[in-house]
Every structure is written in C-alpha cells, then in structure tokens.
Symmetry: C2
Subunit: 266 residues, 2 copies
Amino acid sequence: MISITTINDVIKQLTKPAGELETSVDSLLFGEPNTEVKGIVISFIATQYVIERAKELGANLIITHENPFYSHQGAISHIQNDPVYQAKRRLIEQEGMAIFRFHDHIHKYRPDGIMAGLIAQLGWDAFIEENAAAFSIVHIPSATVPELASLIKKKLEIPFVRVAGDISATCSRIGLLAGYRGGGQTAIPLFEGKGVDLIIAGEGPEWETPEYVRDSAYQGNHKAMIFLGHAPSEEPGMQLLAEQVRTTFANTPVHYIKSGNLFQIM
Amino acid sequence: MISITTINDVIKQLTKPAGELETSVDSLLFGEPNTEVKGIVISFIATQYVIERAKELGANLIITHENPFYSHQGAISHIQNDPVYQAKRRLIEQEGMAIFRFHDHIHKYRPDGIMAGLIAQLGWDAFIEENAAAFSIVHIPSATVPELASLIKKKLEIPFVRVAGDISATCSRIGLLAGYRGGGQTAIPLFEGKGVDLIIAGEGPEWETPEYVRDSAYQGNHKAMIFLGHAPSEEPGMQLLAEQVRTTFANTPVHYIKSGNLFQIM
C-alpha cells in the first residue's frame, strides 16, 4: 500500500501546534484539501515570481505567510479589475496551484514560529530571556547600534535597515518584534517595562515607536530602534518552517523560496 | 484699543476652511482657548526638540500635525509610567505650552492643505491633473525613477527614499499620497483607474502596495513606487500652513520648525 500526502494532511500538521483559533486569516485560498501533494513551496509571500518558480519545480502547494493579493484580510474589491491581480489569479488557477495562507497559526506556536526563525537566523538562541506572545527579549553581549546593524544585514542578507534614536547607544537588552508588531502599543512599553536598550522590529507606523525613540534619545537616553522591513523579519521563520516540513514529509519535495528584497534605497 | 489674538482665534481660523467635521482627532491637547497667543510654533510633530525650541522662541502655542505622544488617537494607557512620556508632559505643563493637534481639518481643506504643500515643495503645481480627497494625480514631463528620486531628495531635503518595482520605468503620470495613505486600498487602484506609472506616498503597510508593485514589475509592467517617509511627505504642508498663519496673524511671531530626519539608513 502506498500512502499519499494530501493538502489536508499538510494543513493539519501545520496548524496542530497552535490549537484551535477562534478567528484566523489562515485558509486554503486555492485548491482542494484532498488533492495529493506533489511538491511544496514555502515562502514569506506568494509573489508572481514564487508562483512561477513553484510551477517550474513541479510543486502544487504553496504555503505563504502573507496573502498573495496585497491585503491582510484578503480584500479584493479594490483590485477586481486590475490586470496584475487578474493575471496572477489566472496563473494560479490555470496551473491548479493550491495556496495555503499560514499566518496566525505559526504566530501562535509557542514560541512563535516566526520569531523562533528570526532569533535562530540572528544567532541569538542562547541569549533568549523571554518569549512572549508578541515579542521576545534577548540579552546579548554589548554591541553598538552600527555593529548590530552590520550583523543583522549579514545574517539576514539584506541591503539596509532603518535606524532611529541614539545610534551611539551600547545595546545588550533587545526587544524583538517580527512583522508589523513594531507599533507603539506593543513596542514602546518594552523600554520601561523590560529595560531594553534597543527595539528591533519588522515595520510599524512611523509616528509611533520611532518618534518615541527620537524623543527618548533627545532627552539623553541611550535608546534606539531598528526597522528591518516586514519581509526580512519574517522570512527566516518561513525558512525554518520549510526545514520542519521537509523533515515531517520526508517523501515530498519541499522548497523554500526567498521572495527577495522588496525595496532599494535611493 | 489693542486687539489681542487668543488661541481660540487661531483655532477658529485654522479649522474654518474644513467646515464642521463629524469626527476628528483635532483638539487643544494642552492650554486654554482664551489665552493670549504670544508666539506660534508650527511643526509636523511636537517632539521634545520642537517644544524646547518653542520655549526658547517665546512661543506659547504649538500647532502639531501628529499627536505628541506617539498615538494617532491619543492613547496613553501604555505609556502612563514611561519616564520619556512623563518628562515631555511635565515640560509642556511647566512651560504652560498650549498644543493644538491639527490633523483632520487640514486634510479636509480643498485641496488638502498637506498635499498642497507637498506638491508646491516638489515644484509640481503646474502639473496637477486631479486633486481628490485622498490623493492627487500629477502629469509631469517624463523622468526615470532614479531621476525622480534625486529630485525628491533635493526638494524635500531628505537623505533617502525607499523604492519598489521597476526602477527603469519612465514616469509621467504620478499618484501622490501624503502620510499613511500609501496603503493598498487607496494606492493600488490608481494604477489601473488613473493610469499612473508611479506612486509616491508617505508610508503604508509593506505587504500591500509595494508587493503589488513588485508583482506588476515582475509581470513586465513598467511600474514603480516611492515611499518618502511619513514626515517628509507631510512637513511641506505644515510649512505652507506656517506661511498662511504668518500672513493671517501678522502681529504674532510665527515659526516653522522642521522636526528633522527621523531615520538614517545603515
């Protein structure tokens, strides 16, 4: 008897560690649960490039952290007539490519699967002090902001980071927030509440944490923050997931595809 | 008889062109409406630096576009015990500095007062094709993305912009969106609906418009986008406002203070 792996098998395996979520954006956006999985592509976001590569690789299931149509909640009313959206959707449907959005569940892993990937990629596993639901605190050997920026760029293979605050600060306690969690409600209290010197986050509104850090530095505090970019902060988590899926479904080809740099600085 | 200008006089004058708004974040955050205005400072955001400068300049009213406490809606529960917040608040109260948040009304000017400042600063007044509530369309002489990035940095006096999409695109129709309006719901439809080659916005979620533009470029469309940063996109509007207020209240010292670069690239 030959056992096959279905899309549903993969989804069950992926979502299990998070338990039942009351609400979630995670769902099988394209494809049927009972289809046999020929190959899996895992990516931060199912871009046009990622979908075309998945096709070339013979995969029929893409696991994507972000929605492929540029909306967290999957809104499409504003792009219904857009030819870029239409062409991408047509490609997915013509190729019979299944797409599973896998966002909320991996963030509910304990520790957060996306954060675990980021910390591992930065080489900071040994320095974890706390893994909370929305952030982690690491206590690293002291380093300056430029030193940390260099290390981050090298480890995450990214061309730049955005820095605010006192760049002469020497940092050892760091608050890490993946994705869009760099907003003030989550990030600012880590300075006073957790005694961090530095926030490293994916992205967040510019008038919140960065402006707080600017004021703090102006008041004479040696505090700073680094925005990595959303994708750079979450790609390592999806890469780590790919390794886990590769182990679990050893008979299925599993490919991690980096979506690549979104921005360049001019 | 000597006529005096009160804070209320200034607020009335500022809000008048927008008419009555049903809901608004605009309000006198500190100070009393009947206080005589000794001097006015206008800024994108009342940072610690701006408040200290206002004090040195003898001003007792600051007009700020963004909330001074890092929250659009003015939430403070998460920073109540934060020493940076407390020190800033203490300075404001000890100096008797009045602070008027002036956000929604200026965006409701027709054309939007913030957008008018941005377009003027870029030297594109002659190229306006449409001034809508949330965006403007300009039709400029063709230029490449790097050429436009250079022009923007020079005109807005900023050190960098973030660019996504096809940087070899030659652009003439541009969708401009100030502040946080670079999100997908507002910006993406301008490509198909208005035929723009390029979006220039303050900021917005990275997984929305930038990812759309990345896909569009990958599909072979010569489309791009530029994120200016929130402050750089709105500061010119507040600077223009300062000129208008200086004319209206000719007997009151009016100072525009640039809050300066928030980020540096590393």
